[in-house]
């Protein structure tokens, strides 16, 4: 069963008491693609992943993974049978040896590939007889990856997969992930390492405070996102809003605009309003991330201060 959208959520919401971790999230992940899932700590990434895996129940909204409903316990088992997951904290059983944990995990999956297991065991230099609790953090990550990659899952979900890995292992992992779609495996991974995401991801999904703030292919981002600097000989004028203007920062005689599309028209607007120096440059994913998150953070702080003032 091939689905064009391997993950799909509609108005997915998760509340923990009065705190809303995921807020009406509409998510759509394409099949056989690598999707980078970005967001600050506490943005709702892990809660979203846990809902996709059936570990926590959505407060409202719904979603499917591989066509199976995430809020149905029986269908959730089918999801977990067909996907592989590496959690942020790994959480492997410390009382088992590496070999025992591999044997244990293998017993749950009919698509286990012994030759991949052997290859990764050698590649990662994992000591089979050592207890998991005696492994370093990096080794634990490698073992968790081995357990996930020794199959041919339809979907690989990884939460901060490179954490604790040395540069060589990170490189090997990224190469493995890049090759995954060719084997029919879609990859959905969260990371704080934006340079890694930018290197391997096809699509970017950015969330903040539980809501999607960016859902686009990396190609589209590279094509459309631009930073437009407009320099004026006198005080910068107010610019009327145009489609594509995401952020505007005014600083004396200069206006800096972050545009998600329509860069030429925005530059032309600047020219029409008397800009003497116009500079249009591409924007990195890191810049988009920081701009988006910082702007929301600033607005939030402002709202907080206003609220505090009102209380006083």
């Amino acid at each position: 069963m091939i689905h064009e959208r391997i993950i799909h959520t509609r108005e997915l919401t998760k509340d923990y008491g009065s705190f809303r971790a995921v807020d009406r999230l509409n998510l759509s992940v394409r099949t056989e693609r690598i999707t980078g899932f970005l967001g600050r700590n506490g943005a709702g990434k892990s809660s979203t992943i846990k809902m996709l895996l059936g570990m926590i129940r959505p407060t409202s909204g719904t979603g499917t993974v591989l066509g199976y409903r995430i809020d149905d316990p029986r269908q959730s088992i089918e999801i977990r049978r067909r996907i592989a997951y590496v959690g942020e904290d790994k959480g492997l059983y410390g009382y088992m040896t590496v070999a025992e944990l591999i044997r244990f995990t293998r017993s749950f999956y009919s698509d286990w590939q012994p030759e991949i297991e052997r290859q990764l065991l050698a590649e990662y230099r994992l000591p089979s007889r050592r207890k998991v609790k005696a492994l370093s953090k990096g080794m634990c990550t490698k073992l968790a990856l081995l357990l996930a990659l020794s199959r041919r899952p339809a979907l690989l979900i990884l939460d901060e997969p490179t954490e604790g890995l040395d540069p060589v292992s990170i490189e090997e992992l990224l190469q493995t992930l890049v090759a995954a779609p060719a084997n029919g495996t879609s990859v959905f991974f969260s990371s704080h390492q934006l340079s890694e995401v930018e290197r391997i991801a096809d699509d970017i999904l950015m969330i903040d405070r539980g809501s999607a703030v960016l859902d686009m292919s990396l190609e589209q981002i590279r094509e459309n996102y631009r930073r437009i600097s407009l320099g004026f000989s006198t005080a910068a004028p107010r610019l009327e809003p145009l489609p594509g203007i995401e952020k505007v920062r005014c600083d004396g005689r200069q206006i800096v605009i972050l545009a998600s599309t329509n860069a030429d028209a925005i530059a032309q607007l600047g020219r029409d309003r008397g800009a003497v120096d116009i500079n249009v440059s591409p924007v990195s994913l890191r810049e988009i991330f920081l701009e988006t998150v910082q702007e929301r953070n600033r607005l939030d702080q402002q709202r907080h201060l206003e609220h505090d003032d009102a209380l006083v």
């Binding site: 923990y16 846990k50 895996l53 059936g54 570990m55 926590i56 129940r57 316990p73 029986r74 088992i77 089918e78 977990r80 049978r81 997951y85 959690g87 904290d89 790994k90 959480g91 492997l92 059983y93 410390g94 009382y95 088992m96 025992e100 044997r103 244990f104 995990t105 017993s107 749950f108 999956y109």
Partner: protein, 245 residues
């Protein structure tokens, strides 16, 4: 293979429990001459074994081990950070809870079975005899009563997070139960007193003078105890089913 994981989780406690129970039984038998000589009143070897193994230290060790084996499960896994890995396996939460419950109870049964092996062997070594049928009878009493102690702790362990909370709470709860049994209207229902059923004290199937099980065991009552434990475990599974982990 869930059974394997559960087995590994309880392996140390079970093996230590079996060793402790075996050592206790052996010491009781090997010291029988000295202990009986210093007793307030003369007693038979059978009475000595009942008082030492089935009515005091042996029973107490068994109850404590049943309670310890009942702790653990998914909430404890969450505290240890392994719940995510377990829940990502393609199995239902119900299977995880019931497998853990069954394997844990098998540990209880293994500890309850230790006197069946050790007491006759050690008795032969010191030239005494203790009927194996008596050991077997007490095994069934321990198995049923142990199921209740185990089930109570299992339920607590699936409601309260923390390593020792369930154990620490189960002990005073059972003590409170023991106190409540002294209420006049409850004391009349003798079969409710699992602290007496477990060793036969004041029970129609036990001869107080000879310290022997004499009549058929109260199978219905024992079955009800196991059923009560199963209800506790079902409640534990239902609780985990709806919990965000």
């Amino acid at each position: 293979m869930l059974w394997y994981k559960s087995l590994r989780e309880i392996r140390t406690v079970t093996l230590v429990g079996i060793a402790a129970m075996a050592a206790m039984c052996a010491l009781v038998v090997l010291n029988q001459q000295t202990m009986r000589a210093h007793a307030d009143a003369p007693m038979t070897y059978v009475a000595y074994i009942w008082k030492s193994v089935y009515n005091s230290i042996g029973r107490d060790i068994f109850i404590i081990l049943s309670i310890i084996l009942g702790s653990g499960g998914l909430l404890q896994e969450r505290a240890h950070g392994t719940a995510g890995f377990t829940l990502a396996l393609p199995v239902s939460r119900r299977s995880i809870v019931f497998t853990r419950a069954v394997i844990g109870y098998l540990g209880v049964l293994a500890i309850a079975a230790v006197p069946i092996v050790v007491v006759p062997l050690a008795s032969g070594y010191v030239g005494e005899q203790y009927p194996i049928a008596q050991n077997t009878g007490f095994f069934f009493l321990w198995a049923a009563c142990g199921a209740v102690f185990y089930g109570v702790t299992f339920l607590l362990a699936h409601r309260l997070e923390g390593d020792y909370i369930s154990v620490l709470l189960a002990i005073p709860l059972l003590m409170l139960y023991g106190v409540l049994l002294n209420l006049p209207w409850l004391s009349r229902l003798r079969m409710l007193n699992i602290f007496h059923v477990i060793n036969g004290e004041d029970m129609p199937f036990f001869n107080e003078a000879r310290h022997l099980l004499i009549a058929p065991l109260p199978w219905l009552s024992l079955a009800i105890m196991v059923a009560v434990s199963a209800v506790f475990i079902t409640f534990a599974a239902r609780r985990i089913q709806s919990l965000d982990l």
